[in-house]
Amino acid sequence: MTHAIEATGLTKSFGRTRALDGLNLTVETGTVHGFLGPNGAGKSTTIRALLGLIRFGGKASVLDGDPWIDAVSLHRRLAYVPGEVTLWANLTGGQAIDILSSLRGERDAGRIAAFIQRFDLDPSKKARSYSKGNRQKVALVAALASRAELLILDEPTSGLDPLMEQVFQECIEEVRREGRTVLLSSHILAEVERLVDTVTIIKKGRTVEVAEVKGQTDLEARFLSHYSTAELATTEVAE
């Protein structure tokens, strides 16, 4: 298995909206792969397709399995942090972490305690009284404390403070060293530059660039080149 994720020609429509329009995404095993695109480009839809939460057209394989058919067995081997974390309002953060870990099939109390401490999370608070950043921490602790081969993280640091952002980056470095794979969707270009090996940039449900990143620092220019200039070009043509 050299590719943890391999998707070609993904399509998905919601009514008349075409959310995915032949998107390609390849993530090599053991790498940290960035997934970039503006709001509404189809990042979360792609991720939900790869998790078997929604049906889709085209071909996709996750950890050599079919994301729709093999969803249950695949989910034992991957961990997911959604972009907008909704928890059980009247259960505490500690309970939520335990539940998510157990439902995935492995709960390592030692690792959980360690990550709770690293992220400075109060696990005795009810989920409804957590801030956005603290809900994010709950999902991150549950995902990082697992020994999953593949981590799928959808804007995992939105709402985290700079200190926690630092902790998150350390954790991802450790995951890489352990040879595990990460798909990281993010808007924070500096974070992506620092963490990822390769990046896929998408626009309106299509892949517009796949590139090596490690060591390069021109990501922002390349990212913007796909949008603002292209957007400007179309506006000019339209006018």
């Binding site: 939900r48 998790l51 078997g52 939460l53 929604i54 049906r55 969803a71 249950v72 067995s73 695949l74 989910h75 034992r76 997911y80 959604p82 974390v85 909704t86 928890l87 059980w88 309002a89 009247n90 259960l91 505490t92 500690g94 309970q95 939520a96 335990d98 539940i99 998510l100 870990s101 157990s102 439902l103 995935r104 099939g105 709960r107 109390a109 109060d122 696990p123 005795s124 608070k125 009810k126 409804r128 009284s129 999902a139």
Partner: protein
């Protein structure tokens, strides 16, 4: 207008826009029910002698506790009060409490209030607007109920006082809900505290009524706002002045709430939230344990409620039977119970249907966890190694198993309490527990239909489910009261289930319904495995 109330008209219009449908439904439903119940009671108890006999039954401990003691019991208006006053007052007060929380603390909890408070509106505008809206709703509904009484041919002054006494009870509890909305930091907490206060008021009133002499309850009914509203004695002495303390409690509560709101921060409660456990119990971490833990409180409360309802039905069956025997065979109730070996058994059978309809409400609520859980935490749960079949199956199993248990408990307590009066509590307990279980396939069919709705039309499923329940209540529980021909009612699912004492009963429709439930549930499972996860 002072700065603290800046923007009040705008916010009031905004809140009305957000609550018009739910308030309109209640403002029309209660007066319509007043009309229907009044028409039915007038038809059933046409002569003063009939009404006196009915009033005598109402003056027995279990009915006095439930519906209260009323003056002028021998008049048509008094009969309407015995039958409907407590139901209407309780319904209006609870709806009003929920309305206050919905436009107050719940808005603060979701952050909507914060979004609004950054604009040019005052510190107390949102709260005061919510209380005014609730009070206006309570008064309009009360007035309409009064008009319904007059339309039904009852005395005008008594009718208006009856209607406004519902409003009075509701306004008193606006004061309570306004305060609990300041104390708790969550909408659920605010509602729970206000409902507990309401339950205490109800209980005080109930004990005072049981220990009353004649139609005068014991003195401590004056400690309960429900007691004040009830002691307006509409159609009897018409004590209008008792609306004053109701209004006073409402205003005092809102005044206290304003003071509390002035000294606290936006979003904070007066009572701090308690920390919870840092780890989940082993059982909560399982596929079946998680939904059970989430529904735990509902399961406990429903089971107790069904048990109490069964005991109550068992308790009043003999009294009701004596009353009906006095009316002769021409009464619509007697006709509705036709087909049973004896009138008493028909009555007990009717109560079993009622129990089954109550259990169905639980079953629907529990099955709808499918939709609520999917919309809220479905994304993270389905991204773990839980199959959708197991996930759906666990929720269906909880709804089905708990419904079966509740049917048995309700039937058992009805049988035991009834048997204790006529001798042989053991025999009757067994017999009614078994008979109640006969309704299990019907309830299972409802569960399956709701599950199918959640599978096929997730976003519409809550509406579909409760509309279905409305139809069930209309036909199965109220059909005869509302004048639907009994031949039609008798063919509905809840009435074809064989009851004790009915000779003509056949079991094949029940078997058929059970089979249909299994097929529909299988269809729902199949669809769940096919479709996208649907978020809120």
């Amino acid at each position: 207008m002072s700065a603290a109330l800046a923007g009040l008209p705008r916010i009031l219009a905004f809140q009305m826009r957000r609550s018009w449908l739910r308030t309109l439904i209640w403002a029309l439903a209660l007066p319509i029910l007043v009309l229907l119940v009044n028409a039915y009671m007038t038809q059933t108890f046409p002569t003063p002698a009939d009404r006196d006999a009915y009033a005598a039954t109402a003056n027995t401990p279990s009915l006095a506790a439930l519906t209260g003691l009323f003056s002028a019991a021998g008049t048509p208006g008094g009969i309407l009060n015995i039958k409907f006053w407590m139901t209407a007052a309780v319904a209006l007060a609870l709806v009003t409490i929920f309305l206050v929380t919905r436009n107050g603390r719940a808005e603060e909890e979701t952050g909507h209030a914060e979004l609004l408070r950054q604009t040019a509106i005052g510190r107390h505008t949102i709260s005061v607007s919510g209380w005014l809206l609730a009070a206006g709703f309570a008064i309009v509904t009360g007035l309409l109920c009064g008009v319904a009484g007059i339309v039904g041919g009852l005395p005008a002054d008594g009718s208006m006082l009856m209607g406004l006494s519902y409003s009075g009870a509701a306004i008193a509890f606006i004061g309570i809900a306004a305060v609990t909305g300041q104390l708790s930091s969550t909408g659920r907490g605010a509602n729970a505290c206000a409902v507990i206060a309401f339950a205490v008021a109800y209980l005080v009133r109930a004990i005072a009524d049981v220990n009353g002499t004649g139609d005068t309850p014991a003195w401590y009914t004056w400690l309960s706002p429900l007691g004040w509203a009830q002691q307006t004695r509409s159609y009897g002495e018409n004590q209008w002045w008792l609306l004053v303390p109701c209004l006073a409690l409402g205003i005092a509560g809102c005044g206290l709430a304003v003071t509390l709101e002035r000294v606290r921060d936006l979003g904070a409660g007066t009572v701090p939230a308690r920390p919870g456990p840092t780890h989940a119990a082993a059982f909560t971490r399982t596929v079946l344990g998680l939904p059970l833990r989430l529904q735990r409180n509902a399961l406990i409360l429903w089971t107790i409620g069904i048990g109490v309802a069964g005991a109550f039905f068992g308790g009043i069956a003999v009294l009701m039977n004596d009353l009906l025997a006095g009316l002769g065979s021409s009464s619509p109730i007697t006709q509705a119970l036709g087909g049973a070996g004896s009138q008493l058994e028909g009555m007990l059978g009717f109560f079993l249907i009622f129990l089954a309809v109550l259990v169905t409400a639980f079953a629907i609520q529990s099955t709808l966890a499918l939709r609520l859980d999917e919309a809220a935490t479905g994304e993270v749960e389905w991204a773990t190694s839980v199959s959708r079949w197991t996930w759906v199956g666990a929720r269906l199993a909880i709804a089905a198993t708990a419904s079966g248990l509740m049917l048995v408990i309700g039937g058992l307590s009805q049988g035991i309490v009834f048997g204790a009066q006529v001798g042989g509590w053991h025999t009757y307990g067994n017999r009614f527990a078994a008979a109640a279980l006969g309704y299990w396939p019907v309830v299972a069919l409802v569960i399956a239909v709701v599950a199918l709705a959640a599978a096929l039309l997730p976003r519409a499923s809550t509406g579909i489910a409760w509309s279905l329940y409305g139809i069930i209540v209309l036909f199965a529980a109220l059909g005869d009261v509302l004048g639907i021909p009994h031949d039609i009612v008798a063919k509905t699912p809840y009435w074809v289930v064989p009851q004790p004492g009915r000779a003509d009963a056949a079991w094949w429709p029940v078997v058929l319904m059970g089979a249909a439930a299994i097929v529909l549930a299988a269809l729902a499972l199949w669809r769940y495995r096919q479709r996208d996860q649907v978020q809120a």
